[in-house]
Assembly symmetry: C2
Homo-oligomer: 332 residues x 2
């Protein structure tokens, strides 16, 4: 035991978020219990909606939050070394002009992988079985048998091959599917059979029975899947979006689902959430709407996100390299 | 080449069935192509809805059909050695009083395993993610986030552990789930972690987060899942039926879904198919209705079913043991 001052982590909660995302004392205890090395070296305090932040920041070494902090960190947080985002997609916190020089920004990328793999597995199987069509028929009290072959014989194209994309790749591999991936650089990955650069997307789209969007939302990926690229997809192909709504031209997608060019879609992310009752998505046929649940494990999410923060706190104390550092220019 | 008379297989189609189930010349050719040993020894003829059956039967060694034959086989088919059913569930052809003494009755059990495994994988994941609830909400244009843990941490009980049940067991294993199975005899299986006799069902039901019905429909399994057994399931548990509608008390299940005792169900089989527009199932909440598509692979089904028939024909010619022989007393 030493009397050295502890490394102070402040957790700033957003109370309006779903309880699954609340960093409670129980979650902090569970995360600390998984990191015995942190026991005497790290102190965790918990706040809600910025309350107490002004008092806490002067002693804070790491701030864990889901939004841009309400206070000027340059003025209030002289000891601050790291800001950790509880999410993986941090497009809502860009640009990083609020981040003081020399303070590292990290995210919780990776926390979602196991749950995201299960979601991708489900969504790929639903598309292959034409569940979106079957659900549209069920709403109309209409029995309509559609028989399909096995997913095992199909090809999937995964656009974006970070944690979420690779999780989808592993899911497709579990099904015996052929996996094509497309990323900014097109560097080979063990989780894909073939890898392309996104620059080649126009010619690759027609190879796939199903397309999964798993790319971060950046200026470069906004409306990446536009009307002409949707038209380039195979007739009867299916689409999964677990990325951000902005990577698709929504009205072009709805049109393709109405026309039947695509056999179905599983969409987890929307421009406005909760999706308002008068949204045109609700009346789009052959569409399964999942309410942004593709990757957050109710049992593990916050404990695992805090685990990343704790391991990085220990790394800062020990002068070791950090994980999950965000590149503000790249946007992820 | 010999001049010995060929073994004659007659395929009697039901034209009103979905084309996926039609034994076409192309399907017969594909099945023969996979069995070169049959080339000079087996002749296949194709009929529709019993037409030409009276002319064909005197020369027929094996009849392949989906229904009880329209003609008295004792009178018309003196050479008959085997009747092969294109389905796996043969409850619709019981009792076997139409089957002449000494003629073997075989079914297509096993043909469905690969597709059934994919369906079970999808259904287990849908139940775990509360898709039935989410679909009911989507129908009402209502966004409602439900977060769940991973399927990997859950337990499934599979009732009936023949080809379909074991396929569900392998699917659950793919997800890392704990697999409990219950069968008539309760004999251990490598595809289950624990095996019970169906006699112990009442005390086993409460152990499972999800229950899969995969038992044949017999006098012993009719309404196996009755109101008291549904009540014995865990609150929030999910149910999958890929067996036959008759193994469940349907009104008790609908009531449990309305009350919310079960979190959801995926039901593939109904007393009346197609399900009529005024069926109470259509308005049952937290229910995903799949139109009897859980196990028929559009690309492989008939070719694989004919493959069993062809292999058994070769076995009969060679005096070797047959596969897929149905026990008429047991009912499967």
């Amino acid at each position: 035991m030493t009397d050295a001052p502890r490394f102070c982590i402040h957790l700033d909660n957003v109370s309006s978020k779903h309880p699954v995302f609340h960093m409670t004392a129980a979650a902090a205890q569970a995360a600390l219990a998984e990191h015995p090395a942190a026991a005497d070296r790290i102190a965790i305090r918990i706040g809600w909606d910025g309350e107490g932040l002004a008092e806490a920041l002067p002693q804070t070494d790491m701030l864990v939050c889901a939004r841009v902090p309400a206070l000027d960190l340059r003025r209030h947080a002289p000891r601050l070394r790291c800001v950790h985002a509880t999410g993986a997609g941090i497009d809502g916190m860009l640009p990083l002009d609020w981040l003081p020089d020399g303070v590292v920004f990290t995210n919780s990328s990776g926390v979602h992988a196991a749950k995201a793999q299960e979601f991708a597995l489900m969504a790929l199987l639903m598309l292959n079985s034409r569940l979106p069509q079957i659900m549209t028929r069920q709403h109309a009290a209409s029995w309509h048998q559609v028989f399909t072959g096995r997913a095992a014989d199909k090809t999937v194209l995964i656009i974006g091959f970070g944690d979420m994309g690779r999780a989808a790749g592993r899911a497709a591999r579990q099904l015996g599917m052929r996996v094509i991936a497309a990323t900014r650089r097109g560097a080979a990955s063990p989780d894909a059979d073939v890898m392309y650069s996104i620059a080649a997307l126009d010619s690759v789209l027609s190879q796939a029975d199903m397309v999964v969007l798993a790319t971060p939302l950046t200026a470069a990926t906004r409306h990446l899947l536009n009307a002409s690229r949707i038209a380039a997809m195979r007739p009867g192909a299916g689409l999964i979006n677990v990325a951000r709504a902005g990577v698709i031209d929504g009205s072009a997608l709805r049109e393709a689902l109405h026309r039947g060019h695509l056999s179905g879609a599983v969409i987890d992310v929307f421009e406005q959430e909760p999706l308002p009752p008068d949204s045109p998505w609700w009346s789009t046929p052959n569409l399964i709407i999942t309410p942004h649940i593709s990757s957050d494990d109710a049992d593990r999410y916050i404990v695992d996100a805090l685990g990343i923060a704790i391991r990085n706190a220990l790394a800062l104390l020990d002068g070791a390299p950090l994980t999950n550092v965000v590149d503000g220019d790249r946007g992820y």
